[in-house]
Amino acid sequence: MNTLTNAPERCPLNATFELTVRCNLKCKMCLFRHDDKENAEIIRNELTAEQWAGFAREAAEMGTVGVLITGGEPLLRPDFCEIYESIYRQGFMISLYTNATLVTPEIMELLRKYPPHKIGISIYGASPETYHKVCGNAAAFEKMLEGSRLLCTLPSVTEFRTTIIKDNFCDSRAIEKLVKENFGERHSVTQTRMVMKAVRGACADVESCRLSPQDNVKLSLQKSIDILRERIGDGFDENNVRIRQENLKKNADCSSAVNHRLSLFGCSGGMTAFAVTWEGKLQACQTLGAFSTDAVELGLKKAWETFPLSVKLPEPNKKCLNCEMSDLCQSCYALRYAETGNLEDCPEYACRDCEVMKSFCL
């Protein structure tokens, strides 16, 4: 047996701080939001502003460069300004993810003083009707537009992000158009490629609202087909378009281009990145809740250092090892765990998605 004499080097360059799993919206496909009935209990267990300030200090000492502040909806926390400022003042490259519906004058004053380097704004429809269907709140549409207009006055880079499910499928082009018309041509909309089941006790019934694998693949090819149509006109059958497979990256890696051959999960999670959950657990990423260490009890540094000891992976799945579609597969440990409840089974939705994608490949 070959044994590694040295563990591969780990460096906590990027952190995700999940301030809460509560949200003012109720998106049908939300990965993280818990049922509102749990709010009182969640609020009792959320980390305090002081604890977040302490983690920010520790992260800076550990050499973390990028911090993503997210939720749930981070702006929902009444002490958001205090938390944000304490993280910002440590000197990180800050990203802030928000649904932009809770942008108050107080928050704008703070963000003008301490603009994030990047703001990710989620947009789930191009009309109040779609917002009602997807997020359970029609009025949130106007609020999102208003909030986004304010956020776009900041010097930050702004990225609009969407997740398409059955209820906003017909809005997918309209969302892109709305963003360009309201916020400028240079803005495009980043789309979640694979909508996975909710994680860590979140309440969404994703299976009932996400697209069929056929529609999901069609959607992911839509932008390219639109560009093709712009260039060569309508004289082709979009169902007969074929893709040449070049440099398709195995495993969606969320945040880093580092070589992960010697890694914990085949990606940056736990190697160059980590997430701290709303209750203070350190995980490889926000979605993979199977392994964690307790950053409240151990402190962030120790929780990071000892994290690999918490990881116990099963033997790789034989079907996946021998799978001819693995280059196209969107599956990773987090998706596998969310979809099947364990780390060894094949996530059927991802397999079916792959099969459809393969049928479009040369």
Partner: protein, 98 residues
């Protein structure tokens, strides 16, 4: 804007100096967040110059300090310092103090 030998310059407060894995970096903050597509890595000379510019100095004063600190030839030290000053002025990282 080019460097004026008679003007004293100071580093803008809109950068947070950090040590990351043994490297010196500057994180742009406040209205400078969009000036760089990321953070700025400093080598030992530029880190020294940046720290020197925490208080107002002319380019000649900084170049002399660089020559002393690194035991470098004055002309070479001035050339290196000028190169960095030009870059910092181009990226709006310095203020003129007079």
């Amino acid at each position: 804007m080019s460097v004026d030998n008679n003007i004293r310059y100071q580093a803008k407060p809109n950068y947070i100096r950090r040590k990351v894995g043994g490297n010196d970096i500057l994180i742009p903050v406040a209205e400078n967040v969009a000036d760089f597509n990321g953070f700025i890595e400093l080598n030992s000379t530029s880190a020294f110059i940046w720290d020197k510019l925490a208080t107002p100095h002319t380019i000649n004063e900084v170049a002399d300090a660089v020559a002393d600190e690194f035991g470098a030839d004055k002309i070479i030290a001035f050339g290196d310092t000028k190169e960095l000053f030009d870059l910092m002025l181009e990226h709006n990282m310095l203020v003129e103090v007079g």
